[in-house]
Symmetry: C2
Amino acid sequence: MQSRIPSSLPRTGRPRSAAADAAILEATRAALVDLGWSKLTMGDVAARAGVAKTTLYRRWASKNELVVDAVAVLFDELELPDNGSLAADIGGVVLQFAALLNRPETKTALMAVVAESTRDAPLRERIRTSIVDRQKRLVLEGRARAHARGELPLDADPAAAACVADLIFDVVAGAVVHRTLVSAEEVDEAWVDRFTTLLLGGLASVEA
Amino acid sequence: MQSRIPSSLPRTGRPRSAAADAAILEATRAALVDLGWSKLTMGDVAARAGVAKTTLYRRWASKNELVVDAVAVLFDELELPDNGSLAADIGGVVLQFAALLNRPETKTALMAVVAESTRDAPLRERIRTSIVDRQKRLVLEGRARAHARGELPLDADPAAAACVADLIFDVVAGAVVHRTLVSAEEVDEAWVDRFTTLLLGGLASVEA
DNA sequence: GAGTTACGCTACGACGCGTAGCGAAAGCTC
DNA sequence: GAGCTTTCGCTACGCGTCGTAGCGTAACTC
């Protein structure tokens, strides 16, 4: 979300242009749509944003970090809809997530930055805080709501509950990502229904 | 597995060196370990393989296809162990898959080529036949074995059964990949146990 | 005003890409 | 063997991107 290069409190001198930040991130998303991850260049982004290339490098050390920040804001759109039941809530959020992954920007960028993050710990941490944790929050909220509804038993052991939440997160996010990007097939309502049935049946077993 | 450039039936002239093919793929894997996907260069691979750069381009049109072929053979190692029960079989194959994803070659390469494939249909097809279908076969074998054991009800509708198999595949592969590469946490036996419990419980619901 | 920082611009060396052209090597057919 | 065909190693090249340096100017604080 923030620039990686130290924006740390220079309260004197000319301030950085917030408009330039916004223009750069917007230009990055546009370039992702037009060119995809691999053909995106820093020079092209700078030109689209109407900004000098040097300005870009003053804020982001690498293409990886720039793209993470550009895509991260899209994940703010994800919400947990209150559809009345746990099954309907899961279906709603899965459809949202699938729609997000079908956007050309995220489609080409998400896997690429994850691939890079396997050899770049700071990038991995940035992805975690900017993207992953925002998704995981939905799982926690969904479980809390299900507890309130009495659809799930209350947690006996908090540590075990955290493990289960992590498991659910990897299963849901992983399945949708894999279906969309690897199998390259559509996440339609029929698939969501089957998946929700599977997940709820599994939850009954694992929460025991 | 095969070179993309037409190896199509030149039955006269000097034949292509099979040793060079093997050396190139081996060198590609070594380069992936040392440099990772993004810093891997065609020139470096050629030098490692003791081969001219032009030779490399005669067989693979791009880095993407080369890496897919180099990594694909690793997926041949995956087998469905007969551990006596469906739960144990799932656990075994999940651990194998997780171990494969923990290798530095696959870790950095797999997500990268998938990311590229979102904008490259031929590459997507190559990944499907070289990698994805080899994994999916394990799901089909596992289900067949479970049917033989009487652990799962026989398929009433073949079309529906295929949908369920696809679902299971995306859930299993997606969850392991997400856990390993996105959450960046270990797939240990405790996680496998929880996951297997979840999946089996879900199967009971979805197979009805 | 003086000091400080951001910005746009230009230019630069370094590097990887992908190709062309050459002579030599390795196979096949007759 | 001779002759043909294809591959191979090598060198060299134009092209594009990278990331940085240097400069003059603009914007903001005290």
